[in-house]
């Protein structure tokens, strides 16, 4: 299958060609690659693509995948509606809740 048609990050529509181009341009630090392409920054937070990208970076750098730094996992674990969060704040009594 062509690199242009191979979607690596499904949330942000990042293809294998996008990733290989960026690696060729020198973006071999996962943290920088992520920020430039948005891969792993979508609603699944890299559950599908992180390992695939890790292997591509390792191959480009000529190192083992476990030598590549992995960006931090950020909360929330699953997407949450702002409305639900606002209700939670109001239920705990706003500012009074943590004072």
């Amino acid at each position: 299958m062509r690199e242009e048609d191979t979607i690596i990050c499904r949330c942000e529509d990042v293809t294998l060609a996008d990733i290989r181009t960026a690696l060729d341009e020198g973006l071999t630090d996962f943290e920088e690659l992520k920020r430039m392409l948005r891969c792993t920054m979508g609603s699944c937070q890299g559950r599908t693509c992180r390992e695939l990208i890790l292997r591509e970076i390792a191959a480009a750098r000529g190192v083992a995948p476990d030598e590549v730094e992995i960006p931090v996992y950020r909360p929330p674990t699953a997407p949450v509606r702002l409305g639900e969060l606002a209700e939670a704040y109001e239920r705990r009594g706003g500012d009074d809740g943590d004072e």
């Binding site: 920088e32 430039m36 937070q45 509606r81 702002l82 409305g83 969060l85 939670a88 706003g94």
Partner: protein, 384 residues
């Protein structure tokens, strides 16, 4: 790649200030420059900020710094020959006033802004709803709007500068930490790193949240501290909010990026000093309560990620720019207090002009470190 062991200048910090200054120095012929970044480019404050660009300040100096940066960002891709977009979206900033006193201050600000060419204006509640139809206005007194304000992508903006700097010969060493600044008599002579020593007559502190630590390496004390500010991003949706909406009173801001996601953040007056990148659920809940109160339809959007960065804050919430007397070769652009990105391009140019002995395009001498001792603090009324 091996790092050079000698340089004309060493820049500590790979954020917008460090990368843009590296480019501006190289443009002026100082090509033997090394940028040291202890993590990755944008890892400090730049990559964690909302990257808003507003000209709506109260002081002429800040309006000029932001306006100059805005004009540079408008043409940045072309100037730097950057093949991607920096996503500079000039859909304006709507600054909300919640009291008559605040409105009067904003009216004064608008007069200053307009006097130097910024096309801002006072808007009534009806006009505010025209630019942001989903805005709840029942607690508002009024607002001001500047259509040239906006926001950019901080990663691409920094990378555009970094790539242009590299093409001119600048060496950017990421994952490389400055561990000491070497002086001899009253001169900077070198920088110690975890990858070796670099001889240099010039060191430039652009270390953002770590600026005090870096200054201390040169024996320079600066009155700054870092403070966590949290932020979150939602899933992308079809465009429906053009302007950045901001309330200085609540310390809240909210924008929709060209990508479709909403980015919104809120300051916490009880935040402890120090570097802390932890995101908290208390923040997410309080922010949600506030932002849904101002922009009700956002209740339906799902939060995808939250994170935190640092403001590096000075006693007057204005940056410290320039060198210091008694230590030749030490320069700094630090303490931006939460608005470094929006004045970054212009500040970098002014600093490069200063360092290379050119006459700077505008006077920034009042932003020197000495102002704190002279008790000439700067009173900017429109700081978040």
């Amino acid at each position: 790649m091996a790092m050079n062991d000698t340089a004309e200048a060493v820049i500590i910090g790979g954020g917008i200030i460090g990368c843009a200054t590296a480019f501006e120095l190289a443009e002026r012929g100082m090509k033997d420059v090394i940028v040291l970044e202890k993590d990755y480019l944008t890892a400090g404050s730049t990559g964690r900020c909302a990257a808003g660009v507003r000209q709506q300040w109260g002081l002429e100096m800040n309006i000029r710094l932001a306006r100059g940066s805005c004009k540079m960002l408008e043409r940045l891709e072309e100037e730097l020959q950057y093949p991607y977009s920096i996503e500079f979206n000039q859909s304006g900033y709507l600054v909300l006033a919640f009291s008559a006193a605040q409105m009067r201050q904003f009216e004064r600000n608008v007069r200053v802004q307009r006097s130097i060419g910024t096309p801002s204006r006072v808007v009534d509640l009806e006009e505010a709803r025209e630019v942001v139809p989903h805005l709840r206005t029942d607690e508002l007194v009024g607002a001001t709007f500047c259509p040239e304000d906006g926001h950019a992508n901080p990663f691409h903006t920094t990378m555009a500068y970094a790539q242009a700097a590299r093409r001119l010969g600048v060496q950017i060493s990421t994952r490389t930490e400055a561990t000491g600044i070497d002086t001899s008599g009253s001169r900077v002579v070198g920088v110690e790193t975890d990858r070796g020593y670099i001889s240099t007559p010039i060191v430039y502190n652009a270390a953002g949240p770590y600026s005090r630590r870096v200054a201390a390496m040169a024996g320079v004390g600066i009155p700054v501290y870092s403070e966590r500010h949290q932020i979150l991003v939602t899933e992308p949706v079809a465009p429906y909010q053009g302007p950045m909406v901001i309330s200085l009173e609540h310390g809240i801001y909210c924008q929709q990026t060209p990508h479709g996601s909403f980015i919104t953040g809120l300051g916490d007056p009880s935040e402890a000093r120090g570097i802390n990148c932890e995101a908290t659920w208390e923040f997410a809940e309080e922010l949600a309560h506030m932002v849904v109160g101002i922009l009700p339809p956002l209740a339906e959007l799902r939060v995808v990620r939250q994170w935190a960065g640092q403001y590096n804050i000075t006693p007057d919430a204005q940056p410290i720019l320039g060198g210091i007397s008694g230590l030749d070769g030490y320069h700094m652009a630090v303490g931006f207090s939460g608005h470094g990105f929006m004045v970054g391009p212009m500040t970098a140019r002014l600093m490069a002009q200063t360092i290379t002995g050119e006459k700077p395009d505008m006077d920034i001498s009042m932003l020197d470190l000495g102002r704190f001792e002279r008790e000439e603090l700067i009173h900017e009324p429109s700081v978040v």
